[in-house]
Amino acid sequence: MRRRGAIRAGPRYPGWLALPALGYYGLFFLAPLVLMGAVALSERVGHIDFVYALNFDNFKVLWDPLYGEIFLRTLRLALFGTVAALLVGFPLAYYIARYAKRKTLLLLLVVVPFWTSFLIRTYSWLIILDPDFPALRALKWMGVLADDFSVLYTPTAVYIGVVYTYLPLMVLPIYATLERMDWSLVEAAEDLGDPPLRAFRRITLPLAVPGVLAGSLLVFIPLMGEYLNPVILGGDKTIYAGNLIGLQFGSSRNWPFGATIALVLIALMTLAVLAFIRLARREEQYG
């Protein structure tokens, strides 16, 4: 960084301009993560204190069917959210990329909700799913829904909430790959006698795979650490991995254990990302 490389022609801004940001990341991002690792290995003393040590007990504690159940539940939530977002998002991305006239505007309309407050978008479902919400009352009155129908503060509400929250993240990358596609290939296949569905399967789908994988990753990763939807829409009654971490820093006050769960969560996510990348590479080679 100190020596100005003469390899590439032309003067440039000095590399040390990166140092303030790097120092900042080092102090306020990497150091906290390293500290988290140290706390995970520390030993709990009394109820709230701990001393640094080299102690793997927390990992052993985590190896319990009770926690395994929570991680499996989180995995189910993340998989459901990813698949549902894909099923809802793919046709939308396909429509915008292939048929829509005002592509930029329609895409912007997908992005805007994602950029508005997470908390408030989750909160909005608290209103909609309230048994007293006018539309729900109307449906009950018409007999479409049972009188005691209520999903608020149940896992179903959490499932609805996560699809709503993460849908835009699925649409964007799929749109990006479909937008670059040469639709005349599809038209040619259809002209040559392929029924639309077959043309879709043989041409569109293989070409869309990178976008689908990228979108799935963007939805799956944050879902593994989901915190807000279960607390607000699930009424904090069903615990997912993110909530389990949060609890250790709230009422349970067991920081070493919380840090351990966070480490395990990051490890699981890294594995998922690596698997996704391998899948993507293979698709690139043979797809």
């Binding site: 390899i7 032309g10 003067p11 440039r12 801004y13 301009l17 990166a18 303030p20 940001a21 900042y24 990341y25 306020f28 991002f29 990497l30 906290p32 500290l35 988290m36 706390v39 809802v88 939308l92 429509y95 915008i96 048929y99 930029t104 329609l106 895409l107 912007l108 309309l109 997908v110 992005v111 909700p113 950029w115 508005t116 407050s117 408030i120 978008r121 909160y123 909005s124 209103i127 909609i128 309230d130 007293d132 919400f133 006018p134 849908l167 835009p168 990358p173 937008e179 639309p196 944050p222 650490g225 915190y227 993110g242 971490i245 820093f249 919380g258 840090a259 966070a262 969560l265 990051i266």
Partner: protein, 273 residues
């Protein structure tokens, strides 16, 4: 036929995306004491919210944090973007990886790590608890500096650097080159990045929740804590105001970026941050 079906589906998806937001806004204008019992159109709850110090204080805190965060993020992010644009690959790759890491690390993980770090730092420096406005701000800047860096770099690389090279060749130093050549052309990207940094910070809940300490509240934290007692008209009005504020700055950021992006593709790259 397939097209019609897709069109109908898309319409439903947009309804799904916007109906909840609309519901919050509509019911914020309900004059009744209960959010869900419509009792005539009224703006009175906005007035009540703005007269309630337990809402205006957190609101001020949120604004302060978001502003400070945006300024700091713009400085760090822009400097990083300028350096990164032409750094050699073996140096750039790990820095890139670090930037992306700050963006994809689950907020809950970063939030608790930052909490432990600030508590530990306070102990080491014998300052006691340092949790408060400053720690929220410092934690927010991590994510947002990366957001600004990505947006500014995309623009910087996209616009080509022959003018900068000419300026350097003619003997101008980095500072005057930046002031006279780069800044005027990068200003829209920096402004857009800053607006986004502002919204992300203003909206943030999870990181703030963990590093706020006992005495400090931001608007999202205030809304969250009141949800335990169900939905109330005042909170609903506050939520609608947050929505309005963030929507405005997002649209502003988009327009600024769009006006200056020569190619449409560039404008569509940005949402993917």
């Amino acid at each position: 036929m397939g097209k019609r079906l897709l069109q109908a589906h898309s319409l439903l998806v947009y309804l799904f995306l916007y109906a909840p937001i609309a519901v919050v806004v509509i019911f914020a204008f309900n004059g009744g004491r209960q959010v869900l019992n419509w009792d005539g159109f009224s703006t009175k709850w906005f007035g009540e919210a703005l007269a309630d110090p337990t809402i205006t204080e957190p609101f001020k805190n949120s604004l302060l944090i978001a502003f400070g965060n945006a300024i700091l993020a713009c400085i760090l992010g822009t400097a990083l973007a300028l350096a990164l644009a032409r750094l050699r690959p073996w140096l750039r790759a790990p820095i890139d990886a670090l930037v992306y890491m700050t963006l994809v690390t689950p907020e809950i993980v970063f939030g608790i790590a930052a909490l432990m770090f600030f508590v530990q730092l306070g102990n080491w420096l014998s300052l006691g608890s340092i949790l408060g406005l400053w720690t929220i701000l410092l934690a927010h800047v991590v994510f947002n500096a990366s957001v600004v860096a990505l947006i500014v770099r995309a623009r910087f690389v996209g616009m080509g650097q022959s003018l900068e090279e000419a300026s350097f060749d003619l003997g101008a130093g980095p500072l005057s080159t930046f002031r006279q050549v780069t800044l005027p052309r990068l200003a829209p990207a920096i402004l857009a990045g800053g607006l986004l940094a502002f919204t992300f910070s203003f909206d943030d809940f999870i990181t703030s929740f963990f590093v706020s300490g006992a005495g400090t509240t931001t608007l999202p934290l205030r809304i969250f804590s009141s949800l335990r007692f169900g939905i109330s008209p005042i909170v609903n009005a506050a939520a609608a105001m947050i929505l309005a504020l963030t929507l405005l700055s997002i649209v502003a950021a988009y327009l600024v970026l769009r006006r200056t992006a020569q190619m449409r593709r560039e404008a569509t790259v940005i949402p993917g941050v």
